[in-house]
């Protein structure tokens, strides 16, 4: 069951990466990073149990904290004039890709 849960997390991570690459708006990417961070916390907790030494959960705690900090930071600094009202400008850049 642990292995199955790990695989499920991998699938969710893959889907989050797709959303992170595809965009289209800035907030989709932030959402993808946030979701990816939560999945990483889960993955690390699960990996501890899969590998038989679950006492290293400190790393998962750090992840949960740092993930919060980085999302807040991203929102804080995307709040500037340069990034505002970019909805219309965002789409052409995606077509360029």
């Amino acid at each position: 069951m642990l292995i199955a849960a790990t695989l499920a997390i991998f699938v969710a991570m893959l889907l989050a990466i797709f959303r992170g690459i595809a965009g289209p708006t800035l907030y989709d990417r932030i959402l993808a990073v946030n979701m990816f961070g939560t999945k990483t916390v889960l993955l690390i907790s699960l990996l501890g149990f899969v590998m038989g030494r679950p006492e290293f959960l400190d790393i998962a705690i750090v992840y949960a904290l740092i993930n919060f900090i980085s999302v807040i930071g991203v929102l804080r600094y995307s709040d500037t004039d340069q990034f505002k009202h970019r909805q219309s400008n965002d789409k052409p850049t995606e077509k360029e890709l």
Partner: protein
């Protein structure tokens, strides 16, 4: 007792995995940012809670159990907060949900005036 614990744990892990995958599908398939955020935000928190609870049944050690509880508390505290802030920031910065496009004209005007 052992069997009961592992069955309960497996059940929780299964629900959690299902929620995680459905959240992943949601973030890919939904049409605009706000619906995607709805999918990701809800399943993220609930799925994590389920998986961590499932792991708690297997922990066996008090320290590991305590750490799992701590991770769970953090996720319960942080997950909804980030979703809230993300949605708020997106709305404030002029990203409109699908079907509300009529409002965007006034937004564009504001944009040009602030850029000059």
């Amino acid at each position: 007792m052992e069997i009961l614990l592992s069955i309960t744990s497996g059940l929780f892990l299964f629900i959690g995995s299902f929620l995680c995958i459905s959240g992943g599908v949601g973030i890919i398939r939904f049409p605009d940012f706000y619906t995607r955020m709805h999918a990701a935000g809800v399943t993220d928190t609930l799925g994590s809670a389920m998986i961590l609870t499932g792991l708690m049944f297997q922990s066996g050690d008090l320290l590991v159990f305590a750490k799992l509880v701590m991770v769970l508390l953090l996720i319960l505290l942080v997950g909804p907060t980030t979703s809230h802030v993300l949605a708020k920031a997106a709305f404030h910065n002029g990203l409109l949900p699908q079907g509300l496009n009529t409002l965007s004209k006034s937004d564009d005007k504001e944009d040009t005036s602030s850029n000059t």
